[in-house]
């Protein structure tokens, strides 16, 4: 009798199953608009030129070794990464009240932040503290927070399916009615999966209510630089909150903007009221890290630190980021144009109004199924497409397929 006799077979994670199905598909026309990873116009993964350069530097530098990093990570990575989010001239940084924990990607940063909040945020047991995530949100947000022990994870209104944009009234309403001290997971830019971000004015309204209602801001920043092509612009919301006195967390990922997906490079930036509080917070985060992964992986952090701390490499990186962002913007513009010129039913302005890697097309599950089965175009059941999967070679086929789908299936 096995002790694991009753372990049920878990359903595979949807986004990875989609890629697996795509791989098995034999159609020569197949297109993968699923997983969020950047692709070139040849539909290939792209190792950033600056990354190749720095990798070479690292592998040829025999003075470097593979010793353990400190528990909180590589110091020069942590500080330079936080500067990217908050701005090098951030008053919070010069006031010594910004710290960070190097983590395993954005997921790891969310994890450590969530574990800390559950233990220490508002009293020493926050299992009942409500955590709000946008409706919809990245599918892993729920699991990260519930696995950290939060029992009350709620949606806040976000996507308006009818008008295909932000449901601002609903969002503000949910903020107003949230219990005091609730935790809100905010997408810093390039909302995943909708690609719909609040405007600066709308962010101000959000911040106002959060301040008044004592709500905690936990930013998820996975696409800085990747959304508009400009790092500062993409960090506007975070910096606004910081300049308005919020203590906050920001989970940063360098998977997309550095193309370092598999090296798991993330940073949990912590902004506190003062250095003393900050040190307390970091000391407790250290304990959490120690029982989760002990200390983080060295390679990716080293690479990012070297890049961010060298003026030439930093400039080259920003350029690489802009290359990626620009290609996405081009695909958006072209897809919209083609749908309009085909006379595809519905409005398609949202394709260019949305920002970042993803677009919530508005296709319903039946239409998605048609796209996959009949047209061999793989996208998430939510209608989310990865713009990076579009190329000059397949964009016509995709546009025509959307047209066909929308006309045939309602």
């Amino acid at each position: 009798m096995s002790i694991f006799g009753e372990v049920p077979l878990a359903a595979p994670v949807a986004v990875f199953k989609l890629t697996a199905d795509f791989r098995e598909d034999q159609s020569p026309n197949k297109v993968n608009l699923g997983v969020g990873a950047y692709r070139t116009d040849e539909c290939q993964p792209w190792v950033l030129p600056v990354v190749k350069k720095v990798e070479k530097i690292i592998v040829e530098d025999h003075s470097l070794n593979h010793e353990y990093l400190p528990i909180l990570g590589l110091p020069e990575f942590r500080s330079s990464a936080s500067k990217i989010a908050l701005g090098a001239d951030s008053p919070a940084i010069s006031e010594n009240r910004v710290g960070a924990v190097q983590c395993l990607g954005g997921t790891g940063a969310l994890k450590i932040g969530a574990e800390f909040l559950r233990r220490w945020y508002n009293g020493i047991d926050n299992t009942k503290t409500p955590v709000y995530v946008s409706a919809p949100t990245w599918e892993n947000h729920n699991a990260v927070f519930s696995n950290a022990g939060f029992e009350d994870i709620r949606p806040y209104k976000y996507w308006d399916g009818e008008k295909r944009g932000l449901d601002l009234a609903g969002l503000l309403d949910d903020l107003e009615s949230a219990p005091e001290h609730s935790i809100f997971v905010l997408h810093a830019c390039a909302h995943n999966p909708t690609g719909t971000d609040p405007t600066q004015d709308q962010w101000k309204q959000i911040a106002d209510i959060m301040k008044r209602k004592n709500l905690f801001a936990f930013f998820d920043s996975a696409y800085q630089g990747f959304a508009s092509g400009n790092l500062d612009q993409d960090a506007w919301a975070i910096r606004y909150f910081v300049s308005h006195g919020f203590e906050l967390f920001c989970a940063q990922s360098f998977s997309k903007n550095f193309g370092l997906y598999n090296e798991r490079v993330g940073n949990l930036t912590v902004v506190a009221k003062d250095q003393d509080k900050l040190n307390h917070v970091l000391s407790q985060m250290e304990k959490i890290v120690r029982i989760t992964w002990s200390n983080p992986p060295s390679q990716g952090a080293r690479l990012v630190a070297i890049t961010l701390n060298s003026p030439e490499l930093f400039a080259e990186w920003k350029d690489n980021v802009k290359t990626m962002a620009d290609r996405v913007l081009l695909m958006r513009a072209q897809l919209k144009e083609k749908l309009k010129s085909l006379g595809t039913p519905g409005t398609w302005e949202h394709i260019t109004e949305q920002i970042g890697m993803f677009s919530f097309t508005g296709l319903n599950p039946k239409q998605v199924e048609y796209m996959i089965k009949e047209k061999h175009i793989f996208l998430m059941a939510s209608g989310r497409i990865n713009m990076c999967g579009l190329t000059s070679k397949n964009i016509d086929y995709v546009a025509e397929s959307i047209h066909e789908t929308v006309t045939r299936i309602q």
Partner: protein, 428 residues
């Protein structure tokens, strides 16, 4: 200073957001009640060492290998693997949740032996993890969620300091079985058997596969055999922690003998592996977690649940170290070179143990230091008392943890004489 900072913020906020009354701006922080976490005892040793200006100072705290010049050692096979990998110009796409398949396969083969029936039948699952800690963490979470009996974990007394908080955080109760005998600085075999015979049915027992941390005391093969039989009789689930395969005796098969024996005897074990020490890949975080199941179908179910556990922690594991390890394990010339280098590291440690004892004898010490040679692996439980450890710190600038544990890897032919002299001074 703190007050000054708060008022600066208040002023600037007042200027930028006149709608927000000053009273509503919390002068207090979310984090006012956050206690300062206690310093990590092992890291504390390193901090104190760094501050010490004595040129003869020795850091015998942290468990990382050092060469005979006291320097970190990057294995030659690792450098070669890295060069090979760089030349291939691979992409950086996400790994699957369970990690690099070539690595996981080779990792299991290394532990179990290439010909193991378990691997042939496909009745085990190995996932890549964030080194040993990550492996234990995934294991603890998995057991907490799926073990279909009330779960207590029995650790040897003493065990690695991080075992307890890891299991505890997963909601598992910790208990202990007798292991170390302070009178002999060796294995309390009878005490261990006595305790194990009382462990309730279906509990989990954690065993260090080789090079027990922190004591360096390992059971002999005949003792392992008796333990295996008793554990089987008690119907306990075995969790092996193998962080030093190859590093203990210098022979990877010999070091994995206990794991393989238990499997042969019908234990469906759980296993954590680390490549931090034996490949010197500390900071790259390379490890594996294996569950030996009843059959391939069960292994598939277990695998699916491991992925569900891993995804909300870190999504998928880091590539660099796993790629290096996989290249070494799967490339015959590199594998051969690795085996030699591991043997080299283990041999240096063994030599330092022998030199320490002979130096102590030459100093005129009348104590029995045989345990220094009998113990194995990176660590040595010297038997030094806390007061003696403190004297070594303060008078001789020799740093170790309070339990008298030294990292033999920090001993060199250049400083072993000084170490012996100092130990003799505080123990005579």
């Amino acid at each position: 200073m703190a007050m000054l900072t708060s008022s600066k913020i208040l002023t600037s906020l007042g200027a930028q957001a006149p709608a927000l009354g000053a009273l509503q701006l919390r002068a207090s922080s979310w984090w006012s009640e956050v206690q300062m976490g206690p310093p990590d005892p092992i890291l504390g040793v390193t901090e104190a060492f760094k501050r010490d200006t004595n040129p003869k100072k020795m850091n015998l705290g942290v468990g990382a290998y050092r060469d005979d010049q006291g320097k970190p050692y990057v294995l030659s096979c690792v450098r070669k693997a890295e060069a090979q990998i760089a030349a291939k110009k691979m992409d950086k796409e996400y790994l699957p949740i369970g990690g690099l398949a070539d690595f996981s396969k080779a990792c299991a083969q290394l532990a179990l032996g290439h010909d193991n029936e378990v691997l042939k039948s496909g009745r085990s699952i190995t996932v890549q993890t964030i080194s040993g800690t990550g492996s234990l963490r995934v294991g603890a979470n998995f057991l907490s969620r799926f073990h279909n009996a009330a779960l207590d974990v029995y650790l040897p007394k003493p065990s690695w300091g991080n075992h307890t908080p890891i299991f505890r955080d997963a909601g598992i109760q910790l208990k202990a079985y007798t292991y170390y005998d302070p009178k002999t600085c060796g294995f309390d075999f009878k005490g261990a058997l006595d305790d194990i015979s009382k462990i309730p049915d279906k509990s989990l027992i954690l065993l260090h596969a080789c090079a027990h941390n922190p004591t360096g005391v390992d059971p002999k093969p005949e003792q392992w055999k008796e333990m295996a039989a008793l554990i089987k009789k008690r119907n306990l689930l075995v969790f092996f922690d193998m962080a030093y395969q190859g590093f203990a005796s210098g022979d990877i098969d010999r070091d994995a003998w206990s794991v393989r024996y238990f499997i042969e005897q019908g234990h469906n074990i759980i296993l954590s592996q680390s490549f931090a020490k034996n490949m010197g890949l500390y900071g790259e975080r390379v490890g594996g977690f294996t569950v030996v199941c009843k059959d391939a179908e069960e292994a598939k179910r277990v695998e699916s649940q491991l992925k569900i556990l891993i995804r909300p922690i870190y999504s998928n594991p880091p590539m660099n170290g796993a790629r290096i390890a996989s290249t070494i394990l799967n490339t015959p010339e590199l594998y051969k070179e690795w085996l030699e280098e591991v043997k080299g590291m283990a041999s240096r440690i063994i030599r330092m143990r022998e030199m320490l004892v002979s130096n102590l004898k030459n100093e005129g010490s009348t104590h029995n230091w045989q345990h220094v040679i009998d113990q194995i692996g990176m660590f040595c439980f010297t038997g030094l008392k806390p007061e003696q450890v403190e004297r070594l710190n303060k008078e001789f600038s020799i740093y170790m943890t309070k339990d008298g544990r030294i990292s033999v890897a920090g001993v060199t032919s250049g400083n072993v004489g000084y170490l012996a002299h100092s130990i003799h001074a505080v123990t005579k």
